[in-house]
Symmetry: C2
Subunit: 193 residues, 2 copies
């Protein structure tokens, strides 16, 4: 039997109505609210959501000499050093391009001359509106490393692109969006088809 | 010049000491605390972190007839329908396998006979400890669809694996961890090398 390669039809759906929105709490970093929704079948339900305070984040895949430039940074969320790509939030008034260049300079001491937006992803669609621009950065010029807001110097290292499977196997390389950025980069560079 | 394909050395690092942990607030879904850390260079810094209330989540990639089985579900975080893989949290007392089978039955009405753990990823290492088991589910038996906790019936659809680039291009398919699961599945099935 020949496989059916047709794509399914994505029909427009009638979303629920927001009946009420109640701010639950704010901290320096987080903003949580509750939404009461009424679905088209009449069912109502309450949802807690984490609302971003910034215009999302950038995650930058810097490439030099056929290698990814990675950082190791203490990551309070998981309570250990995380190996990953430079990243940070898009500051007020910045574009994603501004933020990508700034994070490269602050975190790895390079200034990219070419940026390419690989995609924009969210973290957990059901309870967070946070989104991350995944950005490929190429043609890196050595730059004076701008001071970031890190409590200790970041360790940087170069990982040969061709050895990406071993990078994924590192326990310290663990963010889903970093996996996405890595695979999208390989696809963009024609290394996987 | 031949590219250097050696892997960098990942040296053990002396992490910071936790000086104090202060619960900031709890809601039904979220648990936020502040950690005061002292780094090995003597610098201290405070970090807010979102602490999971459950043993993480499962995201299941169900495959039938060379197609992914996807769901469309209202996602309050992003405020729209999200197209993605079945997922949900691992309930108390459950293994990731239990949760993967349960979510498949509840959300798509299939019971998988083979599960394979593709990887475990986190969402945002710097401020969340939440992790997701990415699980490939194969050999699906039609099952009575167990009642889940959804306010409206989920729409399910089948997407031919070979047409994965068009799936990534869908605006409604947007979670970084779903991208990761898709690419890891393609790698596992030998469809990309």
């Amino acid at each position: 039997m020949k496989a059916n390669l047709d794509l399914p039809i994505i029909e427009p759906l009638q979303g629920p109505q927001v009946i009420a929105t109640q701010p639950l709490l704010k901290t320096r970093l987080f903003n949580i609210e509750q939404q009461s929704l009424c679905f088209s079948n009449g069912v109502t339900a309450d949802y807690e959501r984490l609302v971003s305070k910034s215009d999302g984040a950038v995650l930058v895949v810097p490439i030099i000499n056929d290698a990814f430039v990675l950082i190791r940074e203490w990551s309070a969320g998981v309570g250990r050093y995380e190996l990953g790509f430079p990243k940070g939030k898009v500051d007020p008034g910045e574009t994603w391009q501004d933020a990508a260049v700034r994070e490269c300079q602050e975190e790895i001491g390079f200034r990219p001359r070419r940026l390419h937006l690989l995609d924009k992803v969210c973290l957990a669609a059901s309870y967070m509106d946070h989104h991350t621009h995944l950005v490929l950065a190429q043609y890196l010029d050595v730059s004076v490393s701008d001071a970031g807001d890190e409590p200790e110097p970041l360790q940087t290292l170069q990982w040969p692109i061709a050895r990406w499977p071993e990078l994924l196997a590192q326990a310290e390389f663990s963010e889903g969006r970093a996996y996405a950025a890595l695979f999208l980069t390989l696809t963009h560079l024609g290394k996987i088809v």
